[in-house]
């Protein structure tokens, strides 16, 4: 990176920490620290909800995915707007009127302490384990771009976030999220504009889209009924709906954002704002990836996107083998460039273009196979595509700005997670079981200490993630194992008159069903949320019917 890029990144890091501390000054008690005094407006909460959801890997990973596989990933967000409507009409009013700090606190009011504690514990496990991954995953990419070690990247990102979250709590989280989301939006428009502007003069936007379309990079809707196939329209509409219901309705990292609303209206509007904006925004991110794919038809892409891995391969691979692959790749690239230019002039040239694209894919597959053979590890460089593009095309501090956007995406997710983990630990366990009554000052101090402990935990997990190896993959997916059953118990709470014991047993049944599905591998993970939630509801209703006796208190 050039000096101007380092200056921009430095200004962002110092500025966001200072801004976070300034906005969070004057916290006096738990209500202020965890819920920003319940004073926030819809647009600030809405942007914060959005920023918490967009992680750094979402930003660089989805653009990379559009480059390699097209825009099918977009369907994951198709269930989100409907989920927001359902939540606004059901759970959000219950949470808001119950004046709770955590979503799980409501379950004690409706069922019992046992159900609340189990659900909160599931959240702490799921989110607690993934918080380290939130920090570790972008450090791999950012470390390569910045030339830093992974550990240094983790420490810079983690410590700067911890400082303002520990000091200012939820108010700092929300206001820094607003700035970070504005930066992310700016980054999206900048990258999309740049991708369009960097096309060769003789290739129009329409031509570029024709190339992307012919290569299958604009493909979104796959109407296959298969439950195993990833990112079909149905898994997006149904699985994505349940995922969004669970994530926005029962994950404390999101619930805590809209509980900070000044009124129920403000909380509802913040979610509906996301319902309107999220799909188009994700579309633009994926479209940027598809246009980057076209860009590399007219600028030769590297053999591998992970530059250090390529340098290592050049040293360790048998001398002649890599040279042959380089020559084959250059030839295949040149043929594809010519085929793309012919396609730009004449749309009947689709088949020769597809053949040229298959040839490029085939040579690259040989390079990846060589890399895996030489390194002895599986190789995937999807997340390196977008950062490589940025560094090779942006000048005058703009690359630093987009790298700051990737930092912002990582830090906004981490801040929301740390704040919510501290809240659940404080409210659902420490205050509930150990210290129900304490002064505001003591509660504030404990809340800050718990935030710092979770921050330290995230850094330790991230620093040790490399040793965890493939366990990281399992940890990363743990959230999808717990979301469905948690959603199911909230559905029982709000929609039925089921009593405490059936609800508690229902959660255990739901977890057993999800574990069985995960082990058997018969459905794609987006369906875990559907089956997990439904099994809790069915088990709860069935057990409630079996044990008989009068129904419990009405949910209202």
């Amino acid at each position: 990176m050039a000096t101007a890029d380092w200056v921009v990144l430095g200004v962002y890091l110092v500025g966001i920490v200072a801004f976070g501390m300034w906005t969070g000054r004057g916290s006096r008690g738990m209500d202020e620290f965890f819920l920003a005094g319940r004073t926030m407006k819809w647009w600030a909460i809405g942007l914060s909800v959005m920023a918490t959801q967009i992680s750094a890997i979402t930003f660089v990973g989805t653009t990379g995915q559009a480059y390699t596989d097209g825009m099918r990933f977009l369907v994951v967000y198709f269930g989100l707007p409907t989920a927001m409507v359902i939540l606004c009409a059901t759970l959000v009013p219950f949470f808001y009127r119950a004046r709770v700090f955590t979503a799980y606190e409501y379950l004690e009011k409706r069922f019992d302490a046992r159900t609340r504690s189990l659900t909160s514990l599931l959240f702490l496990f799921g989110r607690g384990l993934s918080v380290g991954v939130t920090l570790y995953a972008p450090s791999l990419v950012l470390g390569v771009i910045l030339g830093w070690s992974e550990n240094l990247t983790i420490l810079v990102m983690g410590l700067s976030t911890i400082v303002y979250v520990v000091y200012g709590g939820n108010r700092s989280v929300i206001w820094t999220d607003v700035v970070q989301m504005a930066l992310i939006w700016f980054g999206i428009f900048l990258c999309l504009g740049l991708a369009l502007a960097s096309l060769p003069e003789h290739v129009s936007v329409r031509d570029a889209l024709a190339v992307a379309q012919t290569a299958g990079r604009l493909r979104v809707m796959d109407t296959s009924p298969s439950l195993q196939k990833p990112y079909t329209l149905w898994s997006g509409l149904i699985g994505g709906l349940f995922l969004a219901l669970a994530y926005f309705g029962t994950d404390q990292s999101q619930v805590q954002r809209y509980l900070a609303g000044k009124s129920l209206t403000q909380s509802r509007l913040s979610l509906l704002f996301n319902a309107f904006v999220k799909v188009p925004m994700q579309f633009m991110i994926l479209l940027t990836g598809a246009l980057v794919f076209v860009f590399y038809h007219f600028h030769e892409p590297p053999l591998l996107w992970n530059a250090p891995a390529l340098a290592e391969l050049a040293q360790k691979a048998p001398p002649g083998e890599l040279a042959v692959l380089r020559a084959d790749f250059a030839r295949a690239y040149e043929q594809r460039r010519e085929a793309a230019e012919r396609l730009a002039l004449d749309r009947t040239q689709a088949e020769p273009y597809r053949a040229a694209q298959r040839e490029v894919d085939a040579v690259r597959a040989r390079v990846v196979a060589l890399e895996e053979r030489v390194s002895g590890r599986p190789y995937n460089d999807t997340n390196y595509i977008f950062p490589t593009y940025i560094l090779s095309t942006l000048r005058g501090g703009l690359a630093g700005l987009v790298i700051a956007v990737i930092f912002a995406a990582a830090m906004s997710t981490l801040s929301g997670e740390l704040n919510s983990l501290a809240t659940a630990t404080m409210v659902d366990f420490y205050k509930r079981y150990f210290r129900p009554v304490a002064s505001d000052a003591e509660e504030l101090l404990t809340s800050r200490a718990l935030t710092a402990v979770w921050g330290g935990f995230a850094i330790v997990v991230a620093l040790r993630a490399r040793q965890l190896g493939s366990a990281i993959e399992t940890v990363n997916r743990f959230g999808s194992y717990v979301y469905g059953p948690i959603l199911g118990v909230f559905a029982l709470a709000v929609l039925t008159r089921v009593r405490a014991l059936p609800a508690f047993v229902g959660i255990l049944c739901g977890e057993a069903v999800v574990a069985a599905l995960a082990v058997s591998g018969i459905v794609h993970f987006l369906w875990f949320n559907v089956f997990g939630a439904l099994s809790v509801v069915l088990c709860g209703l069935l057990i409630d019917r079996l044990i008989g006796s009068p129904p419990a208190v009405s949910p209202s």
Partner: protein, 40 residues
């Protein structure tokens, strides 16, 4: 619940606003489907 909670600032009632979200989703999905198949 305060008075502000009874009515959203747009379209007069929550059900209407919810319907607008669903219609918006349908329009966006149709637009994306059209875009991905458009004869560029």
């Amino acid at each position: 619940m305060d008075q502000e909670d009874d009515r959203p600032p747009l379209l007069g009632s929550w059900p209407r606003l919810y319907a607008a979200v669903v219609i918006w989703l349908a329009v966006v999905m149709a637009g994306i489907a059209l875009f991905s198949r458009w004869p560029f």
